[in-house]
């Protein structure tokens, strides 16, 4: 994360960290493994009170940022989430609240998200091969109604969501709609996943009919909104993954000093020292590109899309390699449930596979490069 925080950001980050330390220590994370929701209502409401879900929403809609960039503030929270493998639908709550506010859609739904009393599902991803960020769910117009057909998965906290923000395809354009969870034709199948406290569902939309008023933005014209949401979401995933890396790395450096083999600490073996040097470099590079991309997205810079995809590709690849090398350094204990290291490995692994693998993002970066070169002539 940022090397230098403003004093407000610093306070905000510390407050969040202290809250997570107290509310979701590893014992609680382990307990939540068997909880169907994965987080406590009260925990989430109190986190929202700290501001976790208000950061991307303009004050006019009830939001409040810590600095002049709510997205940077959010990335600080996400970083702490990664460091704590913290529970709760941080990404979807923020992205959806931001979208509803920016598009002036269903403003009645925003307050619940900001207060942490309602949960919404960001129904964006689909089954491979459409997980490559190209939605295949169909949204067509029939008379006065919109008709949805398709499956969205994985959708975070789908079973708890009171409504979904659904992205689909109308002809060659993208469309977004708000779908109440109890709409006829909507069904949720629980999914399994690698994280202990995250919960996902596959949400099926079978001839789901909605009034045209359910639209978010214009029919077939949501591409820019979708791209913005994707970039915000990637900022959150990246920062969270860097947090997980940082914790895994710190634990493993400690271990290398504590653990002796053949009468010497692991940290004295040059083959391992060089791997720590490699990990330190991955870690600093991940911090650097995560922050840089967050700044670019926050300021709507022309290279925001390129940088945030570069960050996702780089961190997806090297972040998890770092965490797996931490496992390797721990030896047998590192692959047991008893040890805490996997809590962070799980978060990193989850984020690597969500919203596009590294290859998907490399292709996105290449497209940005090609566009720039074409524009240059």
């Amino acid at each position: 994360m940022l090397l230098e925080l403003s004093s407000e950001q610093d306070l905000f980050t510390r407050t969040t960290a202290r809250f997570l330390d107290g509310q979701v220590p590893v014992t609680e994370l382990r307990r939540l493994r068997d909880d169907p929701v994965g987080f406590g209502k009260d925990y989430w409401r109190r986190g929202a009170e700290l501001g976790w879900t208000s950061l991307l929403v303009p004050e006019s809609h009830g939001g409040v940022a810590v600095s002049d960039s709510g997205l940077i503030d959010l990335s600080l929270v996400a970083f702490e989430f990664g460091k704590h493998a913290a529970p709760g639908p941080l990404l979807s709550s923020n992205v959806i609240a931001s979208t509803l506010a920016l598009t002036n859609t269903r403003e009645d739904l925003i307050a619940g998200l900001l207060e942490g009393t309602s949960i919404a599902g960001w129904a964006f991803s689909e089954l491979p091969p459409n997980d490559g960020l190209h939605p295949g769910l169909e949204i067509r117009v029939e008379g006065n109604e919109l008709v949805l057909n398709g499956i969205k998965r994985p959708v975070e906290s789908a079973a708890q969501a009171s409504f979904f923000l659904v992205t689909g395809r109308t002809g060659s354009g993208l469309t977004q709609v708000v779908v109440p969870a109890d709409t006829q034709g909507v069904s949720v199948v629980a999914m399994r996943n690698v994280d202990l406290t995250r919960r996902f569902g596959a949400v099926k939309f079978e001839n789901v009919r909605l009034p045209v008023g359910a639209l978010v933005g214009d029919l077939g014209a949501a591409a820019a909104d979708v791209e913005r949401q994707l970039q915000q979401a990637l900022v959150v995933l990246n920062a969270e993954a860097v947090g997980a890396m940082q914790r895994g790395f710190d634990m493993t450096v400690e271990w290398s000093f504590d653990r002796y083999s053949f009468g010497r600490p692991l940290a004295s073996y040059q083959a391992l020292k060089h791997r720590f040097a490699q990990m330190a470099t991955w870690l600093q590079a991940s911090h650097a590109i995560s922050d840089e991309a967050a700044r670019a997205v926050a300021s709507d810079s022309p290279d925001a899309g390129e940088l945030v995809s570069a960050a996702k590709a780089y961190i997806g690849q090297n972040g998890v390699e770092l965490l797996q090398d931490c496992v390797q350094m721990h030896g047998g204990i590192g692959v047991t449930y008893e040890h805490d290291l996997h809590l962070y490995l799980r978060r990193g692994t989850l984020n690597r596979a969500l919203l596009g693998t590294s290859d998907v993002h490399y292709r996105r970066v290449a497209n940005f490069v090609a566009k720039k070169e074409a524009a240059r002539g």
Binding site: P128, V189, N193, Y260, P265, G334, R352, A353
Partner: protein, 421 residues
């Protein structure tokens, strides 16, 4: 001297037994990939079935092929064993009765055990009555097995053992343990060890299952608390445990290549190689994607190169054109292969790698496999140890400096807190 059965006659006999009695092998998902739901009862049923299979091999004169007759074996040669392995291709066999029971445990008994120990245990093993486990690794010493701190103290004619052992596969359904313990803390690391055997279901031994990242509970940890055993359970001399131990390590590395072990030729783990990756790519709708094809091809390449390497190393060691220690090369490669293959599968599965449903078929569960992918670089000796062996014993590069060679073991630092005292 009795005439040795001809290879041809043996082959006929083995083939007849196999075809009459054994079922084709079922491609089970390999142990390290076991899903969390695998029920204990299922595991226990399989153990019982394999004990029965071992007994059938024994009754047919096919157990302990290369083990002397006086201990219940067939007194034949490694060549006979290889014929049995070749004939077994594609058939079921008593898999859990082989490693570590036949090697390293039985191998160590044959080399270092007393006549009484051999007469008692070898026939019982051959009949499937005794399954053995290694009580070797400890929580505190990882790769450095000679750094064992489980301690045995002489008490009259008995020994009292205290300590903890870990990474024993299936200790909860096994019968006997082969254990390395420290009997003298005033000698240096390698000079104060002694080897013992004992029944696992003894008072004083508590077996705990270890849950792994993918939910499997195949491994155990044991706590020895004032475990009392007679001196007749000692293998090799007092404080001579590393003489036994270094051969033990050798027998352990031989694993399924040991002439004592029955292992069907051509048996490779399912889910390896390009075919499994192709299924994932198909399920992900990416079979025509050139990049997916490259990943499938890479996985298959890793697989066929690995098989070729195993054959080369095996042949090279047999014919002494490669040093014994070259098996570390195959081990290092196998670790990379496991990591790379699992990573390819995980990435091919795309978002299904993160989250999946029970109906996802070939796309399901890769997230769990990915979490535990390093197991292939840790279990059975880490890849780091293999790299040390290759550098120091195959390439003869200078050994790492160790600080625990020439001091009483009690003075060797074993943790930061201890070192800073």
């Amino acid at each position: 001297m009795a005439e040795v059965e001809s290879l041809e006659s043996f082959r006929e006999r083995a083939r007849a037994f196999i075809r009459a009695n054994l079922k084709p092998s079922v491609n089970k998902v390999a142990a390290s990939m076991a899903r969390s739901e695998r029920a204990d009862e299922e595991e226990l049923e399989e153990v019982a079935h394999e004990r029965k299979l071992q007994r059938m091999f024994f009754d047919a004169g096919l157990a302990g092929v290369a083990i002397p007759k006086e201990y219940g074996g067939q007194g034949l040669t490694p060549k006979h064993q290889r014929i049995l392995n070749a004939e077994l291709r594609g058939y079921e066999w008593p898999s859990r009765a082989q490693v570590p029971t036949f090697t390293p445990c039985l191998a160590v008994l044959l080399e270092f055990g007393t006549e009484e120990q051999k007469l008692k245990h070898v026939p019982a093993i051959l009949k499937g009555e005794e399954l053995w486990m290694q009580f070797l690794s400890e929580p505190s010493c990882g790769s450095d097995v000679a750094g064992a701190i489980t301690t045995a103290v002489k008490d009259g004619d008995d020994w009292i053992l205290n300590g903890s052992k870990v990474w024993t596969t299936g200790a909860w359904w096994s019968d006997w343990g082969l254990c390395l313990a420290r009997t003298n803390w005033d000698k240096n690391k390698h000079s104060g060890l002694t080897v013992f055997i004992f029944p696992i279901k003894s008072p004083g031994i508590e077996v705990q299952r270890i849950e792994m990242l993918n939910g499997s509970k195949e491994f155990c940890q044991e706590y020895l608390t004032d475990l009392r055993i007679p001196d007749s359970y000692r293998v090799g001399g007092v404080d001579m445990g590393w003489t036994v131990g270094s051969r033990w390590m050798f027998y352990e590395r031989m694993s399924r290549n040991s002439p004592l072990v029955t292992y069907p030729e051509g048996n490779t783990r399912p889910g390896t190689g390009g075919a499994a990756m192709l299924k994932i790519a198909e399920a992900a709708g990416r079979a025509e994607d050139p990049r997916a094809q490259e990943l499938i091809g890479e996985a298959q390449t890793m697989h066929v190169v690995g098989e070729a390497l195993k054959r080369r190393v095996g042949q090279g060691i047999m014919t002494r054109t490669l040093s014994d220690q070259s098996s570390a090369i195959a081990r290092l490669y196998a670790g990379w292969n496991e990591v790379r293959r699992t990573t390819i599968a995980f990435d091919l599965a795309g978002s299904a790698g993160a989250a999946w449903t029970d109906d996802d078929g070939a796309l399901a569960e890769w997230g769990n496999y990915f979490l535990i992918r390093q197991a292939g670089c840790i279990g059975g000796g880490t890849t780091e140890m293999a790299a040390n062996v290759i550098a120091e014993r195959v390439l003869n590069m200078p050994r790492e400096i160790t600080l625990d060679k020439d001091v009483p073991f009690r003075d060797v630092p074993r943790s930061r807190s201890q070192a800073s005292k």
